[in-house]
Structures are given as C-alpha cells and as structure tokens.
Symmetry: C2
Subunit: 157 residues, 2 copies
C-alpha cells in the first residue's frame, strides 16, 4: 500500500468532486439519524456504487457506507473485483471496511477525515491490498464536522 498526502497528488479537483458526492450520502444518513458517513465508488469518472451508513435502521453493524457501496459497485460491474476503481468515503474506513476493500483489490481509497480510534491505519497499512493507494484529507474538515456535531447533538439529547 502506498500512502499519499493530499498535497502530493494532482487529482485534487476530481477527488473533491467525488468526495462531495460521498458527503451527499453522509447527509442522507444524517437526515435518517444515522452516523453521517457516506461513500461512492468511481470507475472511469462514473459513480458505480453509493452508500450511506444504515447500521441503526437495519440493526446491522455490517451496514457501513463503504460495505453498501462495495456491494452496489460489484453488482454494477458483475464481478467481485473493483480494479481501476476508487472508493471515496468521508471518514477513514474501519477495520471491517478495510478488510472488505482488501478482497475487492480496489485501486484507490480516498477518504476525508481520519478515525483515530477504529480507522484501519491505527492497526497498520497491511490491512489493505498491496495494490491499493490511499489518499487522505479530501474535504476532511467538512467530513469531520458532520460527525462531531452529530455526536454532540446526541449527547445533548
């Protein structure tokens, strides 16, 4: 796995465009009182899978945004592997989602804000496939603010 900082890449503009789509998914989650995390999967500049967190509504810990986007994208391509695809997700994938990303052999993961508790990088970059490149920090502040204000409101209730 290679790890590239936002500043090192020339893909910032298109990455922001797609991260905004992931943020739209996060807002849909928020409207449903779910932890506001969203994801899209892109192949050749086309969104082939979308997802937002639905763990509360479905009573199912596996219903993370990324997992649903993986399933949708695999359905679109008609195969398990997501070579030449990019996952955009507002928050750093957790161990489960990183483990799923490994199996897809996805080419790139672009995430917004870090998850310093359960983000995969806490446990080592080898959780991902060696072919997967990771870019972090795209619209990180907007992504993080959504989450922190969600939990602040929850605590105030």
């Amino acid at each position: 796995m290679r790890y590239i900082n936002f500043e090192d890449t020339g893909d910032a503009i298109s990455d922001e465009v797609f991260m905004k789509e992931a943020l739209k998914e996060a807002h849909i989650a928020l409207e449903q009182d779910e932890v506001p995390i969203g994801a899209v999967i892109v192949s050749k500049n086309r969104i082939i899978g979308r997802g937002h967190n639905l763990t509360e509504r479905l009573n199912d810990v596996t219903a993370h945004a990324e997992m649903q986007a993986f399933t949708a994208a695999a359905n679109y391509v008609g195969g398990k592997y997501l070579h030449d695809c990019t996952l955009y997700v507002t928050i750093e994938p957790c161990v489960m989602c990183a483990g799923a990303a490994y199996w897809t052999q996805i080419s790139r993961i672009v995430f917004g804000a870090r998850d310093e508790k359960r983000g995969f990088s806490v446990f080592g970059s080898q959780l991902l496939h060696p072919k997967t490149t990771v870019i972090s920090g795209i619209l990180a502040e907007e992504s993080a603010t959504l989450i922190t204000s969600f939990f602040r409101n929850k605590r105030a209730q």
Copy 2:
C-alpha cells in the same frame, strides 16, 4: 481479547456440537461450488444465525459466512449487539469479519482451522473487541480438509 487453547476449556463438547452445525453450512457452500466455510451464532444454546460463503454466487466479497450469520443473528435479537453470543466458524475469521465482530461486541469466537494468510490473528488480536474471547482448534482438521480439497480440485480443473 483473551486467547484460550482448546485444551484449556471445559466447553469442548458443546463447542463441537455447534461447530458441526457450522460444518454443515460449509458443506452447503461446497455443494454450490463456493469456498467451503460455514458459521453459526449461538445464544443460550440456541442457534440464532447461520451463514455460508456466497461470494461467488452473489459476486460480493462481503458475503462471507460470518457476515451473513451476524446479520441473521442481529435480525433475530432485534439489535446490533451480540453480547452473550458465540460465533462458531470453520476457518479463522479474516480482517473484515473480525472488524465486523468488533462492532457486534460478541462474547466468544470459536473457530476451527487457522488461516495463516488473512486470518485476523496475523494482524494482531486488537482487531477484536477486548470483551471477546477466542477459542481455536475445534474440529480444525475437518474444517481445513474441506478447504484444501476444494482448492486442490479447483487447480486440477
């Protein structure tokens, strides 16, 4: 996470009974030409979730035996958490499934044979929830033989 060897536990008989149920699931996968791995989730000596690998049929890397058993068990209990439950799975859970197990806070994981490539323990026991106890080696040989003969046959085709 505590790690207990088969010899250290007094639960061997009931663990074998439920592992045989997981093996039945693995055999169902085998009949469908899927990688033969099966799982059941048990609460108070009752099976509340079952699953077998369906990644090929569903074209979906997330369709591991454990993931389907988690979803089924959560549906049964009407909640996300699987406290006081045991996951029985024929092969050591991968990173994805260990990450899902973390979110369920499941009490025990009992597995058959180790997966020395992508088994969670390759990457460290902290992938699991600290409340989760792991027991390995229950019907390990039968579980491993199913897998190795499956891949031997695949290579011969």
